[in-house]
C-alpha cells in the first residue's frame, strides 16, 4: 500500500486505490492550471472576481471532478456481475433514494411547523427533491457503468 497521509481517503482494493489516486492527481493539476489562469486574469480587469466565490467554485469544481470520474469509471459496484445482482442493486438504489427523500421532506416539514425554517417550505422541498434525484442518478449511472464493465470481465 502506498505510504501517504491520504490513505484514510482511499479504499482497500488496489485497483480502486491507484485509480482514485490518479483522479486526485488530475484534479490537483487542473486546480493548479485554474489558479495560474486566475492570477493572470486578475492582473487585468477583464472580469470582476469575488475571492470567496472563486474559492468556493474551485472547491466544488475539484470535488465534482473526482466524483464524476469515479462514477463514470464503473468501479463503485465492483461485485455486480450478473443481471440478477444488477436488478437487486437497482432496487436498493430506488429504496435508498426514496427513503432519503421521505426523511428530508419530513425533517423540513417538521422544522417548518416549529418555525425553525428561514426559507419558504416549498424551497426546502424542492431542494430535497433535487438532492434525492441527484443521489438516484449518480448511483444509477455508477451502477450501470459498473455492470457494463464487469460483464466483460466475468469468467
Amino acid at each position: 500500500m502506498e505510504k501517504t497521509w491520504i490513505s484514510f481517503l482511499l479504499p482497500d482494493d488496489e485497483y480502486k486505490r491507484r485509480t482514485i489516486l490518479v483522479y486526485f492527481a488530475e484534479a490537483a493539476i487542473l486546480q493548479l492550471i485554474a489558479v495560474l489562469t486566475l492570477i493572470v486574469i486578475s492582473r487585468f480587469d477583464f472580469i470582476p472576481m469575488d475571492g470567496v466565490i472563486v474559492l468556493i467554485g474551485m472547491l466544488f469544481g475539484t470535488i465534482a471532478y473526482v466524483w464524476i470520474r469515479y462514477i463514470l469509471s464503473g468501479m463503485e459496484f465492483a461485485e455486480i456481475m450478473t443481471a440478477k445482482a444488477y436488478r437487486r442493486e437497482r432496487k436498493l438504489i430506488i429504496i435508498k433514494s426514496t427513503s432519503f427523500l421521505v426523511i428530508m421532506c419530513a425533517s423540513i416539514a417538521s422544522f417548518d411547523v416549529f418555525g425553525m425554517m428561514s426559507v419558504p417550505l416549498i424551497e426546502g422541498l424542492i431542494v430535497s427533491f433535487i438532492a434525492a434525484l441527484l443521489l438516484f442518478l449518480t448511483n444509477y449511472v455508477s451502477l450501470k457503468r459498473s455492470y457494463w464493465k464487469n460483464r466483460e470481465l466475468i469468467d
Binding site: D13, Y15, S146, L153, D155
Partner: protein, 64 residues
C-alpha cells in the same frame, strides 16, 4: 500485460470470487488483471502467485 492467471485459476477450478477473497481485492480487479487491462503491483502479483501455488515466472513471465 499478458499473463496466465485466468488459465491457471480455471485449471485449479477456482472462481474469480474465491481468488479475489484470498488476495483481498475485488472480483473486478481479478477480472481486469486476467484480461490484461490492469497491471498489478508486485505485492499483488506475489499474493496471486501464492494463492494459485505458482511462481511469478509461471504466471507473469512472457515467453516469445
Amino acid at each position: 500485460m499478458k499473463n496466465k492467471v485466468k488459465f491457471t485459476r480455471m485449471e485449479q477450478k477456482m472462481t474469480q470470487e474465491q481468488l479475489a477473497r484470498q488476495v483481498r481485492v475485488t472480483r473486478q480487479t481479478i477480472g481486469l488483471i486476467e484480461k490484461g487491462e490492469y497491471n498489478p503491483t508486485l505485492q499483488l502479483c506475489v499474493a496471486i502467485a501464492k494463492a494459485l501455488g505458482k511462481t511469478l515466472d509461471d504466471l507473469f513471465w512472457e515467453v516469445d
